[in-house]
C-alpha cells in the first residue's frame, strides 16, 4: 500500500476564440477496491456550469458548458490516492462480456493476425487467460519499440502494428486486440504513474473472476505506483477531455502530471 | 400553453411576408400584363426596375413565362411561393394542417398554371388559395402571437411592395395604420424610434420612397432580435 499525491493539469489553447463549448472530463481518479481518493480539489477555467456523474464504465465524469468566448480551457485536479495492489476488483463473468469484443480501435487486420499467428502454438498449450496475456505482452514488448510522435489518438491497433511503433495507448490497444482474439475480456485503462510527465495507459485482463492490471508498455504487472483514472473498451471510452464547440481554430493541448509518494 | 422558438417566430414572420409577396406580385403582374397588351414597348423594364429585380428577360413572352413560373429564377413568383411553402411546412403544429393545406394547394395550382394554356387565368387559383390561407389564419389559429407574427410579416411586405411600386399614398397610410396595430401583439422586439419615423415619413410630401424602404427593413433590429432569442 502506498499513499501518492497527484496533480493533473490539462490545458487546451485555441488559436481563435471558442464559444458554446460543451465538455466532458474524465480526469478524476476512480474510487474502487484498489484505490481510494482523499483531499480532492478540482478547478475548471473559464466560467462554466458543470455537473458530475458516473458513466456506464464506472468512470467519474465532470460535464458542462462554457458559453463565453475563451482562448484557453483548463482543468486542474489535485489530491491524494491510497493505492493497494494486493486487493482485487472482482466481477461476475456474465457481466464482463462487453469487453470481450473488438472495437473500431482494436479490430485486428492482417498485421495483428499474423502477429497473433506466430504465438498460436504456444497459446494453445496454455489454459489460463492470465498466462496467455502475459505471453502476448512479452512478445509485444520485445517486438515493438516505444516511439513517440508516430501515432495519434485515433491510431488503431492494426495501424500501430503495421508501423511497429507507438506509445502507451498503442501498446494497450494492441494488447486488447490480441486478448480479444483469445476471447479474453479485457479493458483499456487510463491513468498516471509515479514521477512527472504525461498520462499513461495500460490494460486489465479478466481472469478467474478478477480484473488483473498489466502494463504492456513496460512489460510488467501494475503496482502501487500507478493511479487509475478510468477504464473502458478502448481509449475512446476513456477520453480525458471531450468537447464540442464553435470557433476555436487550431488547438493545442498541454498535459502535465506530477505524482509523488508521501 | 403556447411556446414559440426564435426559429419558428422567424418562420411565421417570413411565411407572412412571402405569402403576401406572392399575392401582391400576382396582382401587380396581372395589371402589368393587361397594360402590355396594348403596348409595343418593353414596358416590363420599368416593372423590374421598380421592384428592384434584375431585368434578365429577353422578350415580353420570356418575361411572362419566367417571372411567373421559373423556379430557377430567384425573383419569380414561383420561387417566392416555394419560400412561403418552405416556411409553412415546418409550422404544421403552430398553424394547423387545415391552414397549411392552402399553401400546399397554391403550390399545386402554381404547377398547373405553369403547364396551362392560359397561365394568367390559372394564377387566380393561386391567389384564391392564399386568400383562403389568410382566412384560416384568422379563423383557426388560437394563439394571438402566432397569428400576429404572420400578419405583421404580411403588412410589412405589403408596405414594402406598395412603396416600391409607388402606389397611392392613401393605400400606404392604411397599411401603415394596420402595421402599427399589429406589431405590438407579436412579442417581437422592434425599434420604436424607427416606427415613429416611418409614421412621419408616410405623411410628408413629397414621399421619400427610398428612405421608407430603408427604414422598414430595419424596423426589426437584427441584433436585438438575436439577443432576444438566445
Amino acid at each position: 500500500m502506498r499513499k501518492l499525491r497527484f496533480q493533473y493539469h490539462m490545458q487546451l489553447n485555441f488559436e481563435s476564440p471558442a464559444r458554446e463549448h460543451h465538455f466532458t472530463l474524465r480526469c478524476m481518479p476512480v474510487q474502487d477496491e484498489r484505490q481510494s481518493i482523499v483531499k480532492e480539489q478540482i478547478a475548471i477555467y473559464p466560467k462554466h456550469y458543470s455537473s458530475t456523474q458516473v458513466d456506464s464504465f464506472g468512470n467519474r465524469c465532470m460535464y458542462g458548458t462554457t458559453k463565453e468566448e475563451h482562448t484557453c480551457f483548463a482543468v486542474d485536479v489535485k489530491g491524494e490516492a491510497v493505492v493497494d495492489h494486493t486487493r482485487f476488483i472482482e466481477a461476475p463473468s456474465h457481466k464482463v462480456g462487453l469487453y470481450r469484443y473488438q472495437t473500431r480501435l482494436t479490430e485486428p487486420g492482417p498485421y495483428l493476425n499474423t502477429f497473433h499467428e506466430c504465438m498460436s502454438v504456444m497459446l494453445e498449450q496454455m489454459n489460463s487467460p492470465l498466462k496467455k496475456a502475459q505471453l502476448m505482452m512479452e512478445f509485444l514488448y520485445y517486438s515493438y519499440r516505444y516511439t513517440p510522435g508516430v501515432t495519434g489518438v485515433n491510431t488503431t491497433a492494426e495501424e500501430a502494428c503495421r508501423l511497429q511503433a507507438g506509445v502507451c495507448q498503442d501498446y494497450a490497444h494492441m494488447m486488447l486486440s490480441l486478448c480479444r482474439k483469445e476471447k479474453i475480456p479485457c479493458r483499456y485503462v487510463a491513468g498516471m504513474m509515479l514521477g512527472e510527465g504525461a498520462t499513461h495507459a495500460w490494460i486489465e485482463v479478466y481472469a478467474d473472476g478478477r480484473w488483473i492490471p498489466l502494463d504492456p508498455t513496460h512489460n510488467r504487472a501494475v503496482d502501487d505506483t500507478y493511479i487509475k483514472i478510468s477504464a473502458g473498451r478502448d481509449a475512446q471510452d476513456c477520453t480525458i477531455n471531450q468537447g464540442v464547440f464553435m470557433g476555436g481554430g487550431k488547438q493545442q493541448q498541454e498535459i502535465n502530471v506530477i505524482v509523488e509518494e508521501i | 400553453m403556447a411556446i414559440l422558438s426564435a426559429e419558428h417566430s422567424d418562420q411565421l414572420y417570413w411565411l407572412g411576408r412571402y405569402s403576401e409577396r406572392v399575392y401582391t406580385t400576382i396582382k401587380l403582374f396581372a395589371q402589368q400584363f393587361d397594360d402590355m397588351l396594348d403596348l409595343k414597348t418593353e414596358e416590363y423594364e420599368t416593372f423590374c426596375e421598380k421592384q428592384d429585380i434584375p431585368n434578365i428577360y429577353a422578350s415580353k413572352e420570356d418575361f411572362v413565362r419566367r417571372y411567373c413560373f421559373d423556379e430557377a429564377d430567384p425573383n419569380s413568383i414561383f420561387s417566392n411561393l416555394i419560400r412561403a411553402y418552405d416556411n409553412a411546412v415546418v409550422l404544421r403544429e403552430e398553424i394547423g394542417s387545415e391552414t397549411l393545406c392552402y399553401i400546399q394547394l397554391a403550390v399545386y395550382d402554381m404547377n398547373k398554371a405553369k403547364n396551362s394554356e392560359a397561365p394568367i387565368l390559372h394564377l387566380q387559383k393561386v391567389m384564391d388559395n392564399i386568400v383562403a390561407f389568410w382566412g384560416m389564419v384568422d379563423d383557426s389559429i388560437d394563439s394571438e402571437c402566432v397569428r400576429s407574427l404572420i400578419k405583421f410579416g404580411k403588412r410589412l411586405e405589403r408596405i414594402d411592395l406598395y412603396v416600391r411600386m409607388r402606389i397611392d399614398r392613401r393605400e400606404i397610410k392604411r397599411e401603415m395604420k394596420r402595421l402599427n396595430l399589429r406589431i405590438g401583439r407579436t412579442g417581437l422586439k422592434y425599434n420604436t424610434t424607427k416606427l415613429a419615423h416611418l409614421n412621419y415619413l408616410v405623411e410628408v410630401t413629397p414621399m421619400d420612397y427610398e428612405l421608407i424602404l430603408q427604414e422598414i427593413e430595419s424596423l426589426l433590429d437584427q441584433e436585438e432580435k438575436l439577443a432576444a432569442g438566445f
Partner: protein
C-alpha cells in the same frame, strides 16, 4: 361491402391526401424529393376476434422485449442463464455500451414499437420484424381514415369499425406517463427527413411541440426549450425521431450537429424522458429476433402467442447445415441492414452469386439469418381500374404507457410490383387503412 363502391372514391381520397401533404421524402441521386405515398382504398379488414388474438400476442411480445432490454443493460440474467448467446448481444450494431446501467423513467425502454406481421395463405400470422427504435407510419392510416370517413360515410355507418384516430391520444398518454415535469416535444432531424410529414402531423395531433436540436439546450442538469423572447421552458419528455447515433454529440457520434449536447447525461440522471430509449436496437436486431419467443418464455413464463417466421441461425452448426441444404427455398437477410435492403432470395441467385454468398455466409455466420419463404396471403388492391392481388404486411403499433396499449388498426403496406415481396415505402410501396371490425 362492395369493393367497386369503395374504389369509386379512390381518386378523390388520394387528392385529399395530396392536399394535406401526406408525403414521405426520399433521396435520389443525392437530391431530396417528396413523394406522395400511394393510398389504396380497399382496407385490410381484421375481425375483432382475430385482432384480440393479435393484441394479446403483441402485448406479450413487447412486454418481453422491454424486459430483455432492461436485463441486458442491467443484470444480464438471460446471458448468465445461456438463453441468448453473449455474442449476439455485444457484436450486434444495436447494442450501445453507453447505455449500460441506465434506467429510464419508470423502467420503460420501448414506448412505441412497430411490429411487422404477415399472414400466410392458411391464415396464420407471423412476426417478421420488431422495430423498437423509431418506427414510423402511424400517421398515414390516421389521416387516411379521416378522409375515408368523409368519402364513404355509409360503410362506417353500416359496420362497427374501431376508430383509429385515437392514436394521438394513446401517444400523448404514453409521453405523459414518463414525462419528468415540463413540456413534451417531438424532436425531428428537420424537414428533409423521410418521415417529416409524420413528425409534424403527430406534433399537431398530440399538441406536442415540434422541435429541432438547436431549439433545445441542457443547463444545470435540466433540458430547456428557449422561446423567442429568450425565456427558458423546461422539457420533461422528448419523443425523438432522430437515431441514437445523432442524439447527443457528447455521448454518441461526436460529429452530430442535429443532436443536443449532454441530453443523454441528464437522461441518465432521470431528469428527462426519451422515447424510445437509446440502446433499444439491441432487441430489434435481426439476429436477436430469433430469440424473441424464448424471451417470452424466459421472462414471462408463458407460451409465446405470436410466432416468428421459421428462422435459422447459421451461427448454430445444425442450422447452417439446414441452410446449405435448403438454400433455394430460403430468404437470407443481412442482420445489419434495414428498410428492405440486404434481403436476398436463394432461388433468385445465379450459380456464381450463390457460391459467393455461401462463402461469405461461412466466413461470417453471425451476420445472416435465413427464413422460410412464407406463402403470403395476397391482398386485393385497386390499380388502373382493376382489382389485382399483391403482397402486403401489417405494421402493428404497441405503445407502452401505464399499461401496454395496442392500436386497433395498423399500417398495411403493399408492394405495387406484382413479383415483389418488398413492401417498404422507400422502395415504392403503397399503403392501406386497416379496419378492425366487429363480426
Amino acid at each position: 361491402m362492395n369493393t367497386e363502391e369503395l374504389c369509386k372514391y379512390s381518386d378523390s381520397v388520394n387528392e385529399l391526401l395530396a392536399r394535406y401533404g401526406v408525403k414521405f421524402g426520399i433521396y435520389k441521386n443525392n437530391t431530396f424529393k417528396e413523394q406522395l405515398f400511394p393510398f389504396d382504398m380497399i382496407p385490410r379488414v381484421i375481425h375483432q376476434k382475430e385482432f384480440d388474438y393479435l393484441e394479446r400476442g403483441l402485448k406479450q411480445r413487447v412486454t418481453a422485449l422491454n424486459a430483455f432490454i432492461k436485463d441486458i443493460y442491467g443484470d444480464k440474467k438471460i446471458i448468465k442463464d445461456g438463453v441468448v448467446p453473449e455474442e449476439f448481444v455485444y457484436s450486434g450494431s444495436g447494442y450501445l455500451a453507453q447505455c449500460e446501467g441506465v434506467m429510464p423513467p419508470k423502467g420503460i425502454y420501448s414506448h412505441i414499437a412497430g411490429i411487422d406481421l404477415v399472414q400466410g395463405k392458411d391464415g396464420s400470422w407471423y412476426v417478421l420484424e420488431d422495430n423498437l427504435r423509431i418506427p414510423s407510419g402511424a400517421s398515414y392510416p390516421m389521416i387516411a381514415r379521416d378522409l375515408c370517413r368523409k368519402g364513404l360515410p355509409s360503410a362506417f355507418e353500416k359496420y362497427h369499425i374501431e376508430d383509429n384516430r385515437n392514436y394521438a391520444k394513446m401517444l400523448r398518454r404514453t409521453m405523459d406517463n414518463v414525462n419528468t415535469g415540463g413540456h413534451t416535444v417531438i424532436l425531428s432531424p428537420g424537414r428533409y427527413n423521410a418521415a417529416y410529414f409524420e413528425h409534424s402531423y403527430l406534433a399537431e395531433q398530440t399538441g406536442a411541440h415540434l422541435v429541432t436540436g438547436n431549439e433545445l439546450v441542457v443547463e444545470n442538469d435540466w433540458l430547456y426549450f428557449i422561446d423567442y423572447s429568450g425565456k427558458k421552458e423546461r422539457v420533461g419528455a422528448v419523443y425523438r425521431r432522430i437515431s441514437d447515433e445523432y442524439l447527443d454529440p457528447m455521448n454518441f457520434n461526436e460529429e452530430s450537429v442535429i443532436g443536443i449536447p449532454h441530453i443523454y447525461d441528464i437522461y441518465r440522471k432521470g431528469n428527462v424522458a426519451l422515447l424510445n430509449a437509446p440502446g433499444n436496437g439491441v432487441a430489434d436486431d435481426k439476429g436477436i429476433y430469433y430469440f424473441v419467443p424464448r424471451m417470452v418464455t424466459y421472462y414471462l413464463g408463458e407460451e409465446p402467442i405470436l410466432q416468428n417466421a421459421p428462422t435459422y441461425l447459421p451461427y448454430y452448426e445444425a442450422d447452417m447445415q439446414y441452410v446449405l441444404e435448403h438454400f433455394d427455398s430460403l430468404v437470407l437477410k443481412d442482420v445489419a441492414e434495414a428498410g428492405g435492403y440486404g434481403v436476398v432470395f436463394g432461388s433468385k441467385m445465379t450459380k456464381e452469386e450463390k457460391e459467393q454468398f455461401i462463402a461469405l455466409l461461412k466466413k461470417e455466420p453471425r451476420r445472416f439469418i435465413a427464413q422460410e419463404v412464407i406463402d403470403f396471403r395476397d391482398i386485393d388492391i385497386y390499380e388502373d381500374g382493376k382489382i389485382v392481388p399483391r403482397k402486403a404486411d401489417l405494421r402493428a403499433f404497441v405503445l407502452m404507457a401505464d399499461e401496454p396499449l395496442v392500436w386497433k388498426s395498423g399500417l398495411t403496406r403493399f408492394s405495387r410490383n406484382p413479383d415483389s415481396f418488398i413492401v417498404n415505402s422507400s422502395q415504392g410501396g403503397g399503403f392501406k387503412d386497416t379496419w378492425v371490425m366487429a363480426e
